[in-house]
Symmetry: C2
Subunit: 199 residues, 2 copies
Amino acid sequence: MSHSPLIDELITAFKCLPGVGAKSAQRMTFNLLERNRGGALKLSQALHNAMEHINNCEQCRTFTEAQLCNLCNNPSRAESQQICIVESPQDVLAIEQTSQFKGTYFVLMGHLSPIDGIGPNEIGLDILAQRLQQDKIEEVILATNPTVEGEATAHYISQMCKKHSIRTTRIAHGVPVGGELEYIDGNTLTHAFSGRREF
Amino acid sequence: MSHSPLIDELITAFKCLPGVGAKSAQRMTFNLLERNRGGALKLSQALHNAMEHINNCEQCRTFTEAQLCNLCNNPSRAESQQICIVESPQDVLAIEQTSQFKGTYFVLMGHLSPIDGIGPNEIGLDILAQRLQQDKIEEVILATNPTVEGEATAHYISQMCKKHSIRTTRIAHGVPVGGELEYIDGNTLTHAFSGRREF
């Protein structure tokens, strides 16, 4: 209770951010009021613009304000005839930062989770099925998270690709570069051994 | 780089919040886009309203959208004839939560810091001087922070009060309740000893 309805409203509104509780929300509110009103107004505008204008790319489902995202709009990307399947737009960013992959993406915006009512259509697999049929695709790279749901989703998509006789690959799971063996969990080590290659 | 100008703009805008870096800003952006667009629009509106309408209370300088804040507007508050001097509006909240103090406040919005060009007028001591002269005040409680600048500010204000023969007190500094002696710094312990009272 700050004795000012507008300040209380702002503190409450800040709590919608992930990882922001009552104390952080209060700190943010007073910090902006005291030191950065210009930045706060910019943030207000940016929030409004983003929430009103950002939708999903018609082809890959990632977030974009246009009909097609920049990557889908880039003709050289489609040339590689590779689609990388990821769970979220952040995964696209992470992969793009490596500059290794030159194909297009398909963003599931989640993973199969029948218990939560999330079936194939909820993660856009109907759109993916269309792409597999219409586009010329050589390889589908499954880059879903190595969780139970992510693996199940990868398995489901690999079955879809089989019908169209498209090669499907799964990104490698193993010991992270720079990691120390003694701190790696057994599951990851098992993956690292079963996925070993000629040296 | 997210390949969407609006998303990039929002991520950059989030970085104006205290304690929010590139990674947190990205997490907040995608979290709101994916899960809570309504909350984000509310936050946008609350930010805009707060930044446009919140100013300083004419009497105590705390943040308020009205001419006088709720506390200054409350006639029973002035009856106690006590003014508590604090550095920031958050300090007012902290003291109000204890429900112990029933007087009015004066918020410096900082502390004296000549090296940064912050003199008496920058922290509103001209307004305080007027209040000391015009209002009927029995006691000024100095609750500035126990830092070098806070102590200097408290000292300066105590000199102002002396001119008007108003009683000035300083809140007690000592071992926090629930604290363990062995972890308390020497400075605090010295304060605790010099401020000891009959048991």
